[in-house]
């Protein structure tokens, strides 16, 4: 985080052309992540606009989220906001070379992220149990698109949080994280009942395991403060997107008893 701009070699040694200073004055990994996040924000922007469009053009839009769902989603929001703070602390620890606290803060961030995924999974299971599918819902038969827009938007976000937790696990533990991820996938697959959507959804961890293994074995390296900062950018973005999903999906569909 401290290295917001880069004093490039070309500036120091006057070798123009061969090593030109980067346009944004930041190291390339960071610029690359920002550009990815800009494009990803358009993906989420399209989904959010689609949801908002449907919401305000359908007066009969269902309002299934009662008090317990609002409390649940508020706790999820607090988890993500707190995880952003612990991520900032992790970046500070990386910059001062404090490996112990870097891991501790990364674990705290992963813990908040995992809590978010579990709470969201419970919410999904509850809604599916009440009869909601991507094509139908029991509250407003004339608005079948509620399920599709809800599951697409929140599912896409949940996938991003899952990828973020795996990303931080790789940064924190490198190859040591692979068996942990494998154990989590196996435990999830064996323990989650077969009639639950997450019995199959947990395979996202297997895909994450394969991709992480390819990266870690093809390009093994010790991740430095810049890598932690770049991972932090991704994590904060996941938090940022939820700041729009939470009011739009949950607070715009509260059930007042």
């Amino acid at each position: 985080m401290a290295d917001a701009t880069l004093q490039h070699d070309s500036v120091q040694h006057g070798i123009q052309g061969e090593f030109e200073a980067p346009l944004f004055g930041a190291y390339s990994k960071k610029v690359g992540m920002w550009l990815f996040l800009a494009s990803d924000s358009l993906t989420f922007g399209a989904l959010l606009v689609a949801f908002s469009y449907n919401r305000i053009s359908n007066p009969a839009w269902p309002t299934p989220f009662a008090k317990e769902s609002i409390i649940n989603s508020t706790i999820m929001t607090a988890c993500l906001l707190s995880s952003s703070l612990t991520m900032v602390m992790a970046v500070f620890a990386a910059q001062r070379g404090d490996k112990l606290w870097l891991r501790n803060w990364l674990f705290a961030t992963m813990g908040f992220g995992t809590a978010f995924i579990v709470l969201h999974g419970m919410e999904w299971s509850k809604l599916i149990g009440e009869g909601m599918t991507p094509f139908t819902n029991p509250w407003a038969p004339t608005v079948p698109q509620f399920g599709g827009t809800f599951f697409t938007l929140t599912g896409m976000h949940m996938l991003h949080v899952t990828v973020g937790v795996i990303y931080l696990g790789v940064i924190a533990l490198r190859k040591m994280f692979l068996p942990i991820l494998g154990a989590l996938w196996l435990a999830g697959y064996l323990l989650i009942p077969a009639n639950n959507v997450f019995h199959y959804g947990v395979h996202a961890l297997l895909i994450g395991l394969i991709v992480s293994a390819v990266i870690l074995f093809l390009k093994p390296k010790v991740y430095d403060a810049h890598d932690v900062e770049v991972a932090g950018l991704y994590w904060h973005f996941v938090d940022l997107v939820w700041m729009f999903i939470f009011p739009l999906v949950y607070l715009m569909s509260t059930k007042i008893v």
Binding site: F24, S52, M87, L240
Partner: protein, 103 residues
Amino acid sequence: MQDAAAHDDSKGQYFWVWGALLVLTAVEVWLGYKQVFQPVAMLEVLLGLSVIKSALIIAYFMHLKFESAIMRWTLTISVVACFVIMYLFFFPDAGRILRLGVK
């Protein structure tokens, strides 16, 4: 160019930002649960609060406030322009459907 020591000194600002984000979330929950506004006005108010929250996250947690001016403006203008285009395309139509009472 920012200095590592200078940022360590200002670590407390991140706790303030975190606190502000939690307070804004509480305000959103109160507005949503009490249904203070009609849907369209509620959408505008909640999205307004979300924009403030996202600006805090981008500026402080994602550190864009401390990046170079060219990076700040290039990213902000390009993303905001895309969202404005999306808004102009979709929302007037959504409001028109509502006024015409199309089922």
